[in-house]
Amino acid sequence: MRRRTLLKWISGCLATLCASVVGIPGVSFVLQALRKSGSDGDRVRRVARLKDLPVGKPVAVPILSAREDAWTVHPDEVLGRVWLVRRKPDAKVGAESIPQIVAFSATCPHLGCAIQHDAKENRFQCPCHRALFGLDGERVAAKTGVQKNPSPRAMDLLDCRLVTDETTQEVWVEVTFQKFEQGLTKKVLKA
C-alpha cells in the first residue's frame, strides 16, 4: 500500500511539473501586458527658429513624436500643439536684449479642446466653451457675455529655452512638452 501512495505522489508531482512547464511562462507572457511599453521620456523638442517668431504675435507649432505601438512605430505623429509667444524685449543685459519666449500648451485646461488665437483681439480663445486667455496665458473675462470663464485655470505653461545649433549657429526655441489633467484648478501632470 505504501508503494501505491508513493506512485500516486510521484504521478502528481510529475503532472504538476509538466503543467508548470507551460504554465509559468504562460503567466509571465500574460503579465507582459503590464510592463510599461514604449519610450516617452524624451519630449524635449526644438520647435522653431527664433528669427521666425514675430514679437507680440503668437505662433502655433506642432510637437511631433514617434508613437510606439507594440511592434509598430508611427513616425512623426502629432503629440500636441504649443503656442509660442515672443514678448517685447523688456529685460536688458548690457546693450543686448534677451528675447523673451513663453510656451503654452494649446490644450484647453477645461475639457481639452485646441485653443485658438483670436487675431482681432490678440488673445487666446477656446472654441468649445469660449474660455478666454490673454497672451500671458491668464484667464480673462469676456467683455460682453454674462458667462463665467469655463477654464478652471490659466493656460498650461511649458518649459522652454533658447539653444544655439552647433553647426548652423542658429538660435532655436526648445520646448519640453508635457500633458496635464483637465478640469482641475491645479496643474497636475498626466500619468
Binding site: L7, S11, E68, A70, T72, V73
Partner: protein, 641 residues
C-alpha cells in the same frame, strides 16, 4: 475537504462519472507502451494552451503577421512558448504515427472498436493539415510559399479543386485574406473538428477498455467497461477480496507521466535553445525554393512521378487510397486467424513504413545532392538572419516587415547589380568571390572608392587589366598614358617613391568618398591625406585634366571633388554623360540610369533603387553589433520578472 467532495458528489455524481477512469484496472498489469495515448492527450492540451497564449499577441495580416511574431519572440516567455508550440506540433505527428503502429500491432481495432480505429485514423490527416495551416501564419517566406504550393496542388484536383483553392488562399494570390482564412482554419475550424473526434475517441476508449490482444489472453469480462458490469466492478473493488489486479491509477499513470515528462522535457529543451524558426518576411521578389515539411516529403516525392494532369493521382488518389485501406483494415482482417492476421499486419506495416521511409529518404537525398537547392536554402537562411537583425534594431514602420529587406542595401544591392550592372561590371574580390560578369567589359567595382581600389587604378600594370580599363576604350586613353608616363624611364628608387606618392593620392581620393567603413581610418590619416591632396593638384598635375575642389576644369575628365561619395555616385550612375563625368563622346558604353529627374518613372532605376545600389556599392548599410540584441532583451526580461 472530504465533506465538500461528498457535497459535490451528491449534486453532480462526479464519482460515478469518473469511475471508469478511477476504477479502471489493468488485467495484464501496467505497460510503458500504453502511455502513447496519454502522452498524445497531454501534448494536445499543451498545443491548445500555448496556441491560446500566442493569440494574445498575434495579429493575422500581411502587414502585421511577421511583425507580431517577431514581437512575441522578443520576450523570453514568448520565445519559449512559441518554440514549445512549434516543436510540440512535430512531436504530436510523430506520436500519432507511433500510436497507430502500436494499435495495429496490438490488433486493437477489432470489433467492437472499429469506430475507435476510424476516428483515430481520421484525426491523423486533420492533425497534419492543422499543423501546416499554422506555418504560413508567421508571414515568413517559407510558410507563405508552402501555402501557395499547397494551394496549387489543391487547385489541380479535378472539378472542385480551383474552388477550394480560392477559398483557402482567399483570392487569386496570397494576401491578407490568406492569413485570416488560415487563421480561421488553424484556431477555429480544425480545433473544433479534432476536439469533436477526440472526445468521441476517448468516449470509445472508456466504453471498450483495453483490447483483447493487449490483455494478452481471451476475452476477459473484467476488462470491458460496458455499463452493466460497472456497478459490479465498483462493488468488487470495495469488497475486501484478495488484492485486485493493479489499477490504472496510479500504476499506469506513473508510467504515463514519466513518458510525458521526458517528452515535454525534450521539447522544452529544444524550444529553449533554438526557439521556433522565423524566416524572412514573405516577399515574392525574394528568391526562395519552397519545400514541404518532413511529414509531407513522401507525397512531395510521389508528385515527381505523376506530373501534369496526373498530379492528382499523387496528391489525392494515393493518399486517399492509403487512408481508405487503413479504415477498412478491420473488416479485411476480421476473419483471419491470429497467425494470419499477424502476418497481414506485419506486411502492412513493413510495406507502409518502408514506402514512407523510402520516399522521404529519396526526397531528402535528392535535395542534398542538388547544389542549386542547397545554395538557395542557404540564401534563404541568410536573408532570414538579416531580416531578424534589422527587426531587432528598432520597431517596424506601419507598412510592415516587408520593408525590412526591401529597404536594405545589403539585400537589394546585389539583386540590383545583377540585374542592371553585371552584364559589363564584375563585383568580386581578389579570390573571385562575389559576382563575376560572364564577359567583363568594364571595371570591377568591388571595393570601389577604397584606397586599395583607387591604388589599383593608379598602377601602370593594373590599370590596363580587365579589373579596370583593360576592356574599355579608356585603355587607349589619356589616363592610362599619363599613369604610364609617370613611370617612364625612371630608376627603381624613383619608381618606388612614385608608388608611395600615388598611394597617398589614393588615400586622399578615398577620403573624398567618405566611406562609412573607412571613417576611422580616414580620421587617423589626416596628414597623408593632406599630402595626397597637394600631390594631386601639385606635382602630379592630375588637375591638368580633372577638376579637384577649386583647381582644374570640368569637361575633360571626371570630377575628383567628392569622388566616390554618395552624391557623386548617384550622379555618375544617373547620367555618366553629365559634364561632371564623361561628357559627350568620352563616355564609353555606360547607360544613363536616371537621366530624367522630372519623370523618375521613365528611368531605368527608380530613385529608391538608385539609392539602394549606391549605398550598397559604398558598403553603407547597417551591421548589427556582435552581441545579439534579442538575447540581451530576453535576459533583461528574465531579470525583470
Amino acid at each position: 475537504m472530504q465533506s465538500f467532495l461528498n457535497w459535490l458528489d451528491a449534486r453532480t455524481d462526479y464519482r460515478q462519472l469518473l469511475a471508469p477512469i478511477r476504477m479502471r484496472v489493468l488485467p495484464a498489469g501496467p505497460r510503458w507502451a500504453y502511455s502513447t495515448a496519454s502522452c498524445l492527450l497531454w501534448l494536445f492540451i499543451v498545443q491548445l494552451v500555448t496556441g491560446l497564449l500566442l493569440m494574445l499577441s498575434y495579429s493575422p495580416s500581411t502587414t502585421t503577421a511577421w511583425a507580431s511574431v517577431h514581437f512575441i519572440e522578443q520576450t523570453a516567455a514568448g520565445h519559449f512558448l512559441r518554440g514549445v508550440h512549434h516543436f510540440t506540433s512535430h512531436a504530436l505527428i510523430i506520436l500519432c504515427g507511433v500510436h497507430v503502429v502500436r494499435v495495429l500491432l496490438a490488433r486493437a481495432f477489432q470489433a467492437p472498436r472499429e469506430l475507435l480505429w476510424i476516428t483515430g485514423l481520421l484525426m491523423f490527416p486533420l492533425m497534419l493539415v492543422w499543423a501546416i495551416s499554422g506555418n504560413p501564419l508567421s508571414g515568413g517566406l517559407s510558410g507563405v510559399s508552402q501555402i501557395e504550393v499547397e494551394g496549387h496542388i489543391i487547385g489541380s484536383t479535378p472539378w472542385v479543386g480551383p474552388l477550394i483553392q480560392r477559398i483557402l488562399i482567399g483570392g487569386e494570390e496570397a494576401g491578407h485574406l490568406t492569413l485570416t482564412h488560415l487563421y480561421f482554419l488553424h484556431v477555429g475550424l480544425l480545433p473544433l473538428l479534432v476536439i469533436g473526434l477526440l472526445l468521441f475517441h476517448i468516449g470509445q476508449v472508456i466504453r471498450h477498455g483495453l483490447s483483447v490482444a493487449e490483455l494478452g489472453g481471451p476475452q476477459d469480462d473484467v476488462s470491458r467497461w460496458s455499463a452493466p458490469n460497472l456497478t459490479h466492478l465498483i462493488a468488487a473493488h470495495t469488497s475486501p477480496l484478495p488484492p485486485p489486479r493493479l489499477k490504472y491509477y496510479p500504476y499506469q499513470t506513473v508510467r504515463n507521466m514519466t513518458v510525458v515528462t521526458v517528452v515535454l522535457g525534450i521539447i522544452s529543451a529544444i524550444a529553449g535553445m533554438h526557439g521556433a524558426p522565423l524566416d524572412a518576411p514573405a516577399d515574392p521578389t525574394l528568391p526562395h525554393t519552397p519545400r514541404p515539411e518532413w511529414y509531407f516529403r513522401s507525397l512531395f516525392e510521389l508528385r515527381r512521378y505523376f506530373v501534369g494532369d496526373w498530379e492528382f493521382v499523387a496528391t489525392i488518389i494515393i493518399p486517399g487510397a492509403v487512408l481508405g485501406f487503413f479504415v477498412l483494415f478491420p473488416m479485411l482482417n476480421r476473419k483471419c486467424s491470429p497467425r494470419v492476421s499477424l502476418i497481414h499486419r506485419a506486411l502492412v506495416l513493413l510495406v507502409g513504413v518502408g514506402a514512407w521511409i523510402g520516399l522521404t529518404g529519396m526526397s531528402y537525398l535528392r535535395d542534398w545532392n542538388d547544389a542549386e537547392y542547397l545554395a538557395s536554402s542557404a540564401e534563404t537562411e541568410a536573408l532570414s538572419a538579416r531580416a531578424r537583425d534589422l527587426a531587432d534594431r528598432s520597431l517596424l514602420p506601419p507598412e510592415g516587415a516587408i520593408t525590412l529587406l526591401r529597404d536594405d542595401p545589403k539585400t537589394q544591392g546585389p539583386l540590383l547589380f545583377a540585374r542592371h550592372c553585371a552584364s559589363c561590371h564584375s563585383h568580386a574580390d581578389a579570390s573571385g568571390q562575389g559576382m563575376v560578369a560572364s564577359e567583363p567589359s568594364a571595371p570591377n567595382l568591388h571595393g570601389f572608392g577604397t584606397a586599395a581600389w583607387i591604388s589599383g587604378k593608379l598602377d601602370p600594370q593594373r590599370i590596363v587589366s580587365e579589373h579596370y580599363f583593360g576592356k574599355t576604350k579608356f585603355t587607349e586613353g589619356d589616363m592610362v598614358s599619363k599613369i604610364k608616363e609617370l613611370f617612364d624611364g625612371i630608376e627603381e628608387a624613383e619608381a618606388a617613391k612614385m608608388r608611395d606618392d600615388l598611394k597617398l593620392v589614393a588615400q586622399a581620393l578615398s577620403a573624398e568618398a567618405a566611406l562609412p567603413r573607412a571613417a576611422a581610418a580616414d580620421h587617423d590619416a589626416q596628414a597623408p591625406i593632406v599630402t595626397g591632396r597637394e600631390l594631386l593638384s601639385g606635382r602630379l598635375a592630375c588637375t591638368d585634366c580633372h577638376k579637384f575642389r577649386d583647381q582644374g576644369e570640368l569637361g575633360s575628365a571626371p570630377d575628383l571633388t567628392a569622388y566616390g561619395s554618395r552624391e557623386w555616385l548617384l550622379g555618375m550612375i544617373g547620367n555618366p554623360q553629365h559634364e561632371r563625368f564623361y561628357s559627350g563622346d568620352r563616355n564609353d558604353r555606360m547607360p544613363a540610369f536616371a537621366e530624367d529627374t522630372e519623370h523618375p518613372e521613365r528611368n531605368l532605376l527608380s530613385p529608391r533603387e538608385l539609392n539602394l545600389l549606391v549605398d550598397w556599392l559604398r558598403g553603407d548599410w547597417y551591421e548589427p553589433p556582435t552581441t545579439s540584441i534579442p538575447a540581451q532583451r530576453r535576459n533583461a526580461t528574465l531579470a525583470g520578472n
